[in-house]
Symmetry: C2
Subunit: 438 residues, 2 copies
């Protein structure tokens, strides 16, 4: 068969991994697929750096547009990231009828609707497996494996940096700040960690999967996002005493006419399979009406795991090219005219269980005041623990609630916070019980 | 688009699930794929039974050959099981150029090589996702997601019946016999449970995956198979004291020029993600050179999870039909001329760690005699525990070994068993530590 010609744009960490797989595993891939894959050009501003891969001479170029303008190139692999130049390059490549592979989740979360539409009109493929959870085949699973399933919910650990930090706080009982420093020292967190630790990266991935699972357009700004920077070793320790661990979960639920889509620190019971996802690993539990729970876990980032996902896309597209079967699978997993718009429930309207921690003076009557306010807002309490007295006379009061409405919880918190006996702003962590694999 | 016409052969539990998904979720599937799927005939000896699905009149027929002979039918879904009629029907359907979906693992493990060859010659697709681990997309993951990965190993829980029984022995501390009775009462085990509890079912699945992962033909009889019927609550309790649980694992390792392929009760450390796979769930951890570890878990059996996997195959084949792209993916995940034959290492040649339990008279010198024999065979011991004295004067001596060669272990066991002070045949359970997800 005629070789499929590839143009890689961007040769940083993941780009180098892709080149390495394509060059070092060329024979294996051809044995499996029967399709020779040939890198024609790799565009990167740095054409001199030694990347530890034996490139053919002349393959490294500095001008990405040379790839877009080359009529021989079948598939463009965009690996520069960012939302401006990447967007322009992808749009231009689509216009020229080239197929695209990208891992650019920020771009897809915000401009995916438009890009998918343009690609569908031109009949080209735009593949994005590596944009969500690295090597975990979640896009393939949603679009292909679960094609006959109504998706009820997805619950996942989508950010390895946060999971590493929470694992460190839990296991080494250190502060968020120290755990973040460790993550940075290990290369798991950026110098500016905001995108990861404040939950935006997980929310980008959730936006992509939510669109795909429910066949809908999503407005990214409607996703509720809360990061992990306020999680303390104290709350993690208390959670453990109740039999729970704390993870940054991305949660999406199909309520029929509306959906929930939110990212926040969440207490999940030990014994739930997600509680065993340690370190930088990612994982997702999908509940479909036919499969019940399907759970996937693996490396969500890193050179070779991400490169592996990109190779999976390159091969899928090459197989389509071989059979003249471009756009074999609708890009968003649904026929374009059937894509709907469903509202995302505001966070204030969700119903969930909560962990509350109040810090109050150790006076008789405090518990009764707090419980009274909670009762007024229809928040019923499953259990209360009053922990050892602090030296300054205030004590932590810890509660696990039954299911309650978030807007009521917020109102109750305002009232409780205004009590004179309450010394620090109350702490709230949402709980998820209902997705255990058993 | 022209509807794809389907013929289902066999309408038992899974067949009914397939019909249910095709009929009740027709609209959803068509929204996602753009392809109308139409069941033309369902062949079953019982055409009268109420299956709780609203079939179109005339759809249920009793003669399976009517489906094979119908030129309109594009895809035949074989769900009768067994190795004789199923084989004949599939061969005849291939001859007529029909594409096949099957979940018949016993047939594929034993006659797959021939069937795949015939299908490849005729250019038809033979899809078998549902044959291994129910709804877990393991075939798709190996053939598509991991296409650029050298597979190093696969370690999995492939039999839900065994996993349920071991979970019950562990959690309720009951005997194998009682746990099996419970499994039968719950419908998780057959009246004759041999195929499941003696490990043959797991071995069928391991054979299919091993062929696929390493691109090789496999001789089923070379797989070492040991079931769970000898596992006692006592050994499970002792394992737990060492920090291990016992699972029936299917293990396959790529040693370069040879492979390991074996099914046996295995001790794995608590904390390993496979240790949390409870009840009837299945799971697999795949180690690929680029992805490192990728872990998948879900229902390995049952009406709807298995039907979901079959639907995934039906849709894949329908998408190929729509684009005239049959045989888009080589059936065995490798171009036929590149399929190799690699020897399976005999069990006596494997190197692994072991748990040993000896029951011996509580005499001074016993431990020294046993340790002396082990030492003679180069088996070094990591830890020894001598458990509370039994009433009849004999005590259990429990040991965890370092890595040792199985043939030497067997020879040592023969010698130890012949010692006069040793009262019962020694117990051996293999240990796997080396596939933790961290």
């Amino acid at each position: 068969m005629k070789p499929v010609k590839l143009g890689l744009i961007g040769c940083g960490t993941v780009g180098t991994g892709v080149a390495r797989l394509l060059i070092n595993n060329r024979h294996l891939i051809e044995q499996r697929t029967g399709i020779p894959l040939h890198i024609k050009f790799i565009a990167d501003l740095d054409t001199k750096k030694d990347r530890g891969v034996a490139f053919e001479p002349g393959i490294l170029i500095s001008n990405a547009w040379q790839i877009i303008d080359d009529p021989e190139i079948d598939i463009v692999i965009e690996m520069i990231g960012g939302e401006t130049l990447a967007n322009d390059l992808i749009k231009a490549a689509i216009e020229k009828g080239k197929h695209i592979v990208t891992a650019n989740k920020a771009l897809l979360a915000k401009h995916g609707n438009q890009l998918f539409k343009t690609a569908a009109c031109k009949g080209v493929d735009l593949a994005y497996e590596a944009s969500v959870c690295g090597c975990i085949p979640i896009i393939k699973t949603l679009r292909e494996t679960l094609v006959s399933n109504q998706i009820n919910s997805m619950t996942g650990i989508f950010n390895g940096t946060c999971n590493y930090i929470l694992t460190q706080i839990t296991e080494a009982q250190i502060s968020f700040k120290d755990a973040l420093k460790q993550a940075q020292a290990q290369g798991y967190a950026e110098a500016d960690p905001t995108l990861d630790v404040e939950g935006f990266d997980a929310a980008h991935k959730l936006a992509i999967l939510t669109s795909l699972a429910y066949g809908m357009h999503i407005n990214f700004d409607d996703i509720y996002i809360e990061g992990i920077s306020k999680i303390t070793p104290f709350d993690i320790k208390l959670a453990a005493e109740f039999g729970y661990c704390i993870k940054l979960l991305a949660i999406s639920k199909n309520l029929g006419d509306r959906i929930e889509a939110r990212v926040h620190p969440t207490m999940i019971p030990y014994g739930n399979i997600l509680s065993n996802v340690r370190g930088t690993l990612n994982a997702i539990n999908i509940n479909g009406h036919a499969v019940d729970n399907l759970f996937l876990s693996g490396h969500g980032a890193g050179m070779m795991p991400t490169a592996s996902a990109i190779l999976s896309d390159i091969v899928d597209l090459s197989r389509n090219l071989q059979h003249h079967a471009a756009a074999r699978i609708p890009l968003m997993g649904c026929q374009p005219p059937d894509i709907q718009t469903m509202p995302i429930l505001p966070i204030t309207d969700i119903l969930t269980r909560y962990y509350f921690r109040f810090t109050a003076l150790d006076n008789p009557g405090v518990l009764s005041s707090i419980a009274g306010i909670l009762g007024k807002y229809e928040i019923s309490i499953q259990s209360v623990h009053q922990k050892g007295r602090k030296t300054d006379g205030s004590v932590p009061i810890v509660m696990m609630s039954h299911s309650a409405k978030e807007s009521y919880v917020r109102k109750a918190f305002e009232e409780i916070d205004s009590l004179e006996v309450v010394e620090e702003p109350p702490v709230l962590i949402r709980i998820e019980d209902g997705f255990a694999q058993d």
